[in-house]
Symmetry: C2
Subunit: 346 residues, 2 copies
DNA sequence: TTGTACGCGTTATCAA
DNA sequence: TTGATAACGCGTACAA
């Protein structure tokens, strides 16, 4: 029982061929005679050799087959909203032609500053929701010279970005409500900055998260004076908390609430039910994303459906292109209005 | 503009030191004089060198800092239930002493059979929910001689497993209902096999998924004749569908429903509401997991809380131990009964 | 504290 | 179709 693992050289020696020949048998890059192949395979079996060591191969090839995905929140938070997991599925699809896997990176300010991001054998990186701390990650990756794509964030420079037409989409939704005759409209937004504080957004307040800002701007294009309340995360419970605040206004309460995500909208609907308001008769509620909100039936949200899986897939393809030496272009996806049963006349 | 990336040798040459010295400066494994360090760092900055290439380092060290996590479902499905994301967070914690990241692997039967699992530079692997197709993954990993830990699955052999006392826990919950006087009890189970078909589970039917089987057995220890209905996934909507079927029975309908997950329980509660039944006055409902079900308030599920994060952390620690050359033992966690407001007297 | 020499395991290139 | 050779970029004994 040898303690050392067999290498391709051992296999080659045992099979009586050159190491390069054995390598060719495993990679299949060059034709080899059936007899040779069999001899090599037999030798490998006898030695318990299961194929080239990926570490050595990746050094030689300059490719590890690993794409890093960096979120700026904890995994638990990031995956709370299905829109992110759907995007991840698309991303997994997008990179699969590369035979690549996805390495989950937490953007904590752990002890070592971004330890894995600097030390992981990445072929490329995808940053999700670039704002705040993620800018450090971006700098790190750019310095390493690794191809990087940013989803839903402003990366500046020549970094390909995969975006949505957030402002136009929210504008469209606001016009829908206007056409229904709504005058008093409030909105529940996604977090406005890294602090993720819950509360009303003052008129001139700065919103550093791009998605949140753009959707808010879209709403204000139509309703300049809409009241805005920021949630601390995208979840039903956060929507519920925000909804309670917004619907407590008595006579001045809004007749419609525009939520910046479907989960938030679901929470607002719960708040309405609590307050004895019927949706959509007494209150119209709109979402954003177009995901399936687990447990929301029989409501079907009126929402702006975003192509989340396509977004991920596009990011994957952009990564693949860059690794192929081509320049990848930024791409902006369009959301589509989807009527449900949660909006009605004022 | 040189096309080739700078290596540590280039940096050393420019700094006028030996490569090994430069290496030491970056790794910090051996003390070096401040002057030398500064010269090396300056040279690195001038050359745009950002530190050792992880690919080369991992070959040299025999470590890649990557732990593979293999699910048997699509990412979107796996992450639908928070219990899994919580577990992932724990796992991320558990492997962080290794400075390792988590590589997400889909266990699809894609064209290439498990391409990434065989070709990724993994230090270790964690299989989640070992049953059906995952057995192939297990064989693959074992053949590669990579340390592997199985969460919630039967791996046989000497593979460390991280489990729950599913049977005892469900038994305990069943006794809780019995002590409340319930006679007609039904259960909504997690998927029973790889096919994930929805429907009643016949008396002698085989249940191949261990978790599902064990919890069902625990229930039958107390209520041998309980009606069982299998859901196709762990979600509120699946629980709702199952609840509709189980509560349609008229006079023979159960007075209590034991769900095998909190999400399923939430769905059953919705079904009860639909049917005009009050929880817990007309129907008691119990869950399993002890997660926070987004949007379920004001209900607080009576449930068996499982230490999901600890499970992940333990798996991470087992992996770390095995990489340290120690043998890792299997571990079985215990669930704890948590009273909520969803159960009451029959 | 620094330098020399070597090997980690593989694969591309080129010649035979 | 096969074989010899030379990197890939780094870390670490060991000697100085």
């Amino acid at each position: 029982m040898n303690t050392r693992r067999a290498t391709i050289a051992d296999v080659a020696r045992r099979a009586g061929v050159a190491p390069s020949t054995a390598s060719v048998v495993f990679s299949g890059k060059t034709p080899s005679s059936a007899a040779t192949r069999q001899r090599v395979l037999d030798a490998a079996a006898e030695l318990g050799y299961t194929g080239p060591d990926p570490r050595a191969a990746s050094l030689r090839l300059g490719r590890s087959g690993i794409v890093g995905v960096v979120f700026e929140e904890h995994l638990g938070t990031a995956f709370l909203d299905p829109v992110n997991t759907v995007m991840m599925d698309g991303l997994a699809d997008g990179v699969s032609p590369l035979g690549a896997g996805l390495l989950l990176l937490r953007d904590d300010d752990n002890e070592g500053r971004l330890p894995t991001l600097t030390s992981a054998p990445l072929d490329a990186a995808v940053l999700v929701g670039c704002s705040g701390r993620l800018r450090d990650s971006l700098a790190t990756v750019l310095r390493r010279g690794i191809p990087v794509v940013v989803i839903e964030g402003d990366a500046g420079d020549g970094v390909p970005q995969i975006d949505l037409d957030n402002r136009e989409a929210q504008q469209q939704m606001a016009r829908h409500l206007r056409s229904l005759g709504h005058e008093r409209v409030a909105t529940v937004t996604l977090p406005t900055d890294a602090a993720r504080l819950r509360g009303f957004i003052a008129a001139g307040a700065e919103v550093t998260v791009g998605v949140t800002r753009d959707r808010l701007d879209g709403l204000r294009d139509v309703y300049p004076d809409a009241v805005a309340y920021a949630a601390a995360a995208s979840s039903i419970d956060e929507g519920l908390a925000a909804g309670r605040v917004l619907l407590a206004g008595g006579a001045a309460r809004p007749t419609a609430v525009i939520a910046q995500s479907d989960l938030l909208a679901a929470g607002v609907i719960r708040a309405a039910e609590e307050a004895g308001l019927r949706v959509p008769e007494d209150l119209s509620v709109t979402g954003f994303d177009g995901i399936t909100v687990d447990g929301l039936a029989p409501y079907r949200l009126t929402t702006m459906a975003q192509p989340a899986a396509d977004k991920g897939r596009a990011a994957g393809q952009a990564v693949a292109a860059m690794l192929g030496g081509e320049a990848a272009a930024s791409f902006r996806f369009t959301c589509t209005f989807r009527a449900g049963n949660t909006t009605g006349p004022a």
